[in-house]
């Protein structure tokens, strides 16, 4: 399968969205709304639920499942208040020592005048910094599209998993094609060049692992994902906060390929 075919599968409207995973992974779910500042962004689903017997905070980017809900969820493109709502719930999770599970599925943060006016860049930036210091385990699963900064805003985590046909990229293949290749139909080439598949991301150590997809047996697939998450939570919760945060920083710290810089001068 080509990289661009995977992009199309990752965007397939028939694919389960965040709400489907939340329904299967968790029980006793309470949805929590609002950023306590400006509004409530339906592109971000957040709340508390039980993962097995463990209370967790979940945050998912929801694309919607029919035309009406897709419009309401802004097709899974969060606005600044969505990122701030996510951060509010993460801080709440930190206070009560609840692990955080993020489900990422977005073509990117909302692109609009309103988002700029309310500080889209600042909202994402704050999430990156605060998530790096969040004193509770964070696990992110990219279930469909991981679109650039809009995805990263929920993916500064101790573990990052990607579904088999999920993609994670700095820019959409279409955007890359129009800027760099300047010709029609170059999306497929761009997708290849960007190394955006789950398998590529694992190779580049951006993702810990690739999760096999089996939507025909979605319940069973989610049960297995739940076991994996519970296993990780057990391991991460056993660590001291200091170790947890040092490991999280080190996890991102090593992501860089460049010339020179041996013999670090610090």
């Amino acid at each position: 399968m080509t990289a661009y075919e995977k992009v199309k599968i990752a965007r397939d409207q028939q694919r389960p969205t965040a709400s489907a995973y939340i329904g299967q992974l968790l029980h006793e779910v309470t949805l929590l709304h609002g950023d306590r500042n400006f509004g409530d962004d339906d592109a971000i689903l957040g709340g508390i639920g039980l993962l097995g017997d463990t209370p967790v905070t979940f945050i998912g980017i929801e694309r919607g499942t029919d035309l009406e809900s897709r419009i309401r969820c802004n097709f899974g493109a969060p606005r600044p208040e969505g990122y701030r709502k996510a951060l509010r719930l993460m801080k709440q999770a930190e206070k009560f020592h609840r692990p955080v599970i993020c489900l990422v599925d977005t073509s990117g943060a909302h692109c609009g005048a309103d988002a700029e006016e309310r500080g889209q860049g600042q909202a994402i930036a704050e999430n990156l910094m605060e998530m790096m210091g969040l004193k509770t385990p964070v696990i992110s699963v990219i279930i469909g599209e991981g679109g650039s900064g809009g995805a990263l805003g929920l993916a500064v985590a101790d573990r990052i998993y990607m579904l088999e046909n999920a993609v994670y990229s700095v820019i959409s293949p279409e955007g890359c094609a129009s800027i760099l290749f300047k010709e029609q139909g170059a999306e497929a080439e761009a997708a290849e060049c960007l190394h955006l598949t789950a398998q590529d991301n694992k190779k580049l150590r951006v993702a810990e692992d690739v999760i096999p997809e089996d939507f025909k047996h979605f319940h069973a697939m989610c049960l297995s994902l739940r076991e994996r998450l519970l296993g990780d939570i057990a391991l991460l919760s056993a660590q001291s906060v200091e170790t947890l945060l040092n490991n999280r920083y080190a996890r991102f710290r090593r992501l860089g390929i460049y010339e020179g810089g041996k013999g670090r001068s610090i």
């Binding site: 005048a113 500080g119 704050e126 710290r253 390929i257 460049y258 610090i266």
Partner: protein, 286 residues
């Protein structure tokens, strides 16, 4: 190849439209202000730190000139300059672009880092070079800035950073996106240790740089009229099929919406930075 013509050896191409031609040197060493269209001797512009003497427009200033302009004479000492980009994805055209950027800017990467003294206070510094692939952020830029914050944390120094960037460097794929998280983490640790970070946003500061370290300063200052935004204005206009105001995403617009502490003219930057650094210097803190 066209037929060899001995006459070509004795005649210079008249203009750059002619094959093999080179741009003709301007009649004198003058440069036009892009805003008021007036011409000024280049030397006079340089002396004015490339602020138009007539209309006050802040023209682009190289990273090295910027650092020279704010640091005490001879106090800047560069760090991490051996860290440079690698084309690890074999991205089409990347090697050529890097070469062009190096030749065009005279720098080997899109950011210059080091230490210097401003207003009598020693600090760690970084300045992005917009002439180097639009100041785009790849792994080398990310590593240099991360190390600057780590160096500042260990040596208990404040950080002054000048941003100028089109965003993440897409030729490095997902690894360029990861630099946003990496740098934000280094800032978080510097901040935890009590360090002061002053971000100065210059034209243009966009995309992944806005969505990470540009917006994470304890104090965020911008130069007048600098473009500061996340999504591109044209992209927004295209997506939403609407026309945006002329001042959209200018520093003044961003200040009005509450995301900047102040707008400071270039000629006052050195004083303001020095003052703020001094006011953040105590025995206990970094």
């Amino acid at each position: 190849m066209s037929e060899f013509n001995i006459a070509d050896l004795f005649r210079k191409p008249a203009n750059q439209l002619e094959p093999g031609g080179v741009p003709r040197k301007p009649a004198d060493d003058r440069e036009q202000c892009p805003r008021c269209k007036q011409y000024f001797p280049r030397k006079r512009l340089e002396k004015n730190n490339r602020v138009c003497p007539s209309c006050g427009h802040h023209m682009s200033l190289s990273a090295r000139r910027r650092l020279e302009a704010v640091c005490a004479v001879g106090s800047f000492s560069e760090l991490f300059s051996d860290i440079t980009a690698r084309d690890f994805l074999n991205f089409p055209g990347y090697e050529e672009k890097l070469k062009k950027a190096r030749d065009g800017s005279g720098e080997n990467e899109g950011v210059i880092c080091g230490t210097g003294i401003i207003g009598g206070v020693r600090c760690a510094l970084f300045a992005m070079e917009s002439a180097f692939m639009m100041g785009s952020m790849g792994a080398a830029v990310g590593e240099r800035i991360t190390r600057t914050f780590e160096y500042a944390t260990v040596n208990r120094l404040p950080v002054v950073g000048f941003t100028a960037s089109g965003g993440a460097r897409m030729q490095e794929g997902i690894i360029s996106l990861m630099q946003m998280a990496k740098i934000s983490g280094a800032i978080q640790r510097h901040g935890e240790a009590g360090g002061f970070y002053l971000a100065i946003l210059t034209h243009p500061t966009t995309g992944g740089v806005t969505a990470s370290f540009a917006m994470l300063g304890d104090i965020i200052i911008a130069e007048p009229k600098a473009l500061v935004g996340f999504a591109g204005k044209r992209v927004i206009e295209h997506t939403t099929k609407s026309k945006l105001a002329a001042d959209f995403q200018t520093a003044e617009f961003v200040l009005k919406h509450g995301f900047l502490d102040a707008i400071v003219e270039r000629k006052q930057l050195g004083d303001v930075i020095g003052r703020l650094l001094k006011q953040h210097t105590t025995e206990k803190k970094i």
